[in-house]
């Protein structure tokens, strides 16, 4: 009797959590349209969005349309996509490398993308080309790490993490070179600002550009999510359970690299999200990747959208997003460590 009551309570708890994970992002998505220097009322937001899909007569000013569709929608969408992409990548990497301290840029993707962007800015590329170059160099950096680790016999996972650190600092050095030669009046601030991470340059075209890689990354990771449980128990054990660990790990790395590269290419380098959100989510839904991966998408999206809302409205000049995520993320991480929570003993 007591047992079934306990089970019921657990069930109700999990239903509440699921509902919150679905409803919160939607509410925050709609709510974020109202925040900003140009005031838009809740009804205006709904009308401006709805009238495109259903033919209703409105007397909204074109300015409202521009604000809702061309300024706020791309930015809100980008914040949610970047937050979700970094978080699911972090969670998948932590499972794949059986290491809770791994973040999505462990294989050098951020440094690679940063170098690509810095170079593109130096060569006065267009915004779109800066993003494309960043994306490509993100992939290049991870490929170097991957093939480097494959050339070793033995523990390739360890070699991959160590290789990632080496490749990451190599590209960081390249970034420094570019900063050193960049024009301090003009190019240098732009590079520095890009590296801090911000969504202020995002427009509709940049969001459209990353939709395909992001869609592929999300879908494949969600499809293999239960296998990640088995992989997280260690290679030998996963293999004895019939899992092709090499192939599965490659698939996860590919997906996470697509996602992180895409995210970094439009947002610049945003730290801590991919490390902290998976832990936060694990505290709420547990370590089972079946629930963990979908939940990180929701919580990651909500978190970065909230932070970005603060970034663009709290002060008269924008706060770079990457700075704020670190200011929130680092203390939170220490708090988790202090709590010594059960997920990473």
């Amino acid at each position: 009797m007591e047992k079934s009551e306990e089970m019921n309570r657990a069930k109700i708890g999990s239903i509440t959590t699921t509902t919150a994970l679905i409803v919160l992002p939607i509410l925050l998505f709609l709510g974020s349209f109202m925040i900003g220097r140009y005031p838009v009322s809740p009804t205006d937001v709904l009308v401006a969005i709805g009238s495109v899909f259903v033919p209703i007569k409105t007397n909204l000013s074109p300015a409202v349309y521009t604000v809702v569709w061309d300024i706020r929608l791309p930015r809100i969408a980008a914040a949610m996509i970047v937050g979700a992409a970094l978080s699911i990548s972090g969670a998948s990497f932590q499972g794949t490398f059986q290491n809770p301290l791994v973040s999505p840029d462990i294989l050098g993707v951020s440094a690679g993308a940063g170098f690509g962007a810095a170079m593109a800015i130096l060569l006065s590329f267009s915004t779109v080309m800066i993003q494309v170059t960043a994306f490509i160099f993100g992939l290049v950096a991870v490929s170097i790490t991957y093939f480097f680790s494959r050339s070793f016999k033995g523990d390739t996972t360890l070699m991959m993490v160590l290789g990632g650190i080496a490749v990451g600092s190599l590209f960081s050095a390249f970034i420094s070179c570019i900063k050193y030669v960049a024009d301090p009046e003009d190019k240098l601030p732009e590079i520095v600002y890009w590296l801090m991470g911000s969504l202020s340059t995002v427009d509709t075209s940049s969001v459209v550009m990353i939709i395909i890689p992001v869609f592929i990354g999300f879908s494949v990771l969600l499809l293999v999510r239960w296998r990640l449980n088995v992989l997280s128990m260690g290679d030998e054990e996963a293999q004895s359970l019939g899992v092709n660990t090499e192939k599965l790990r490659l698939v996860v790395i590919l997906c996470c690299t697509l996602l992180t590269s895409a995210a970094v290419s439009i947002s610049g380098i945003i730290g801590w999200v991919g490390l902290v959100i998976p832990h936060m989510t694990r505290m709420i839904v547990g370590p089972d990747h079946r629930k963990l991966l979908p939940a990180t998408i929701s919580i990651g999206a909500v978190f970065l959208l909230l932070v970005d809302d603060v970034c663009r409205t709290a002060t008269s000049i924008e706060i770079p997003l990457g700075i704020l995520t670190a200011i929130i993320g680092a203390p939170f991480f220490i708090y988790l460590l202090k709590k010594g929570y059960e997920g990473w003993s």
Binding site: Q98, N229, S232, Q239, S240, G242
Partner: protein
């Protein structure tokens, strides 16, 4: 004779030069419990890993149900062979049920998640070992003896024909060692074949119908426990004096002599 496993002239080396073992021949039939004894570092665990396909032999062959394992798909091998490693830990705090459920991996394709049928099989495995009270506990927080039972449940959920246990009793207290051997006996009575390594010659008397002694990369002796676990063999294997005594009509015991 219902042969499940045949190891034929197997040899292995990690670097291609120094052989870990050489010329190993073994046969395991249905319901057999084969206990492999031998000093540290003779390649018992390595042999287990070769049978499981985790490592590849240098030469020789391993047959499961007359099929060479080098020609089997990994998932098919995992449907036939279950394996419990020597030491085990989990990075993440999975529930016991989630850990047992992982045993279903070879039966599911890459993109599927376990369904009702798999939940039932996992539940059955948990119940059959009498550990239902652990089901919702956190795997990283239970005791070593309980972990061993959970891993046994996982391997049962895998529904294999052959069980490979690498020192299943090494980290357990006295009571849990015997309880594990008891489970091993029950599983073999239900038709499973078991190969385990052990450091306790006594365990061979308690649970096995076959014993092999591995020493210096080869099999020194193999056969029934009574004929293999002898005072002379134990001296040769471990370099210590033991006394093998009759406990009653049906069982013997192996006792170390006094330390000089």
């Amino acid at each position: 004779m219902n042969q499940i496993l045949k190891v034929d002239n197997a040899s292995f080396s990690y670097n291609g030069k120094e052989k870990i073992f050489e010329g190993i021949n073994l046969e395991v039939n249905k319901s057999d419990v084969l206990c492999i004894l031998g000093p540290n570092g003779t390649g018992k665990s390595t042999l287990i890993k070769c049978i499981n396909g985790l490592l590849n032999l240098d030469s020789g062959n391993i047959f499961l149900n007359s099929t060479n394992i080098s020609e089997m798909a990994k998932t098919d091998l995992a449907k036939m062979v279950g394996y419990i490693p020597q030491s085990h830990s989990s990075t993440f705090a999975f529930s016991v049920f989630d850990v047992v459920l992982m045993g279903r991996a070879p039966h599911l394709n890459v993109t599927s998640v376990p369904g009702r049928k798999d939940f039932k099989i996992a539940d059955k495995a948990i119940e059959s070992l009498g550990i239902s009270y652990l089901k919702d506990k956190t795997y990283t927080e239970i005791s070593g003896g309980e972990k061993q039972m959970v891993l046994l449940a996982r391997v049962l959920a895998q529904e294999p024909k052959l069980l490979l246990l690498d020192e299943p009793t090494s980290h357990l207290d006295f009571g849990n060692q015997i309880r594990t051997l008891d489970v091993i006996n029950r599983l073999s009575q239900n038709g499973l074949s078991i190969v385990m390594t052990s450091h306790y010659p006594d365990h061979a008397f308690l649970s096995s119908n076959k014993v092999a002694i591995m020493k210096d990369g080869g099999i020194m002796d193999i056969g029934e426990p009574e004929s293999v676990v002898t005072e002379e063999n134990m001296r040769k294997t471990y370099g210590i004096d033991v006394k093998v005594i009759d406990m009653d009509d049906s069982r013997k015991a192996c006792i170390p002599m006094q330390i000089k």
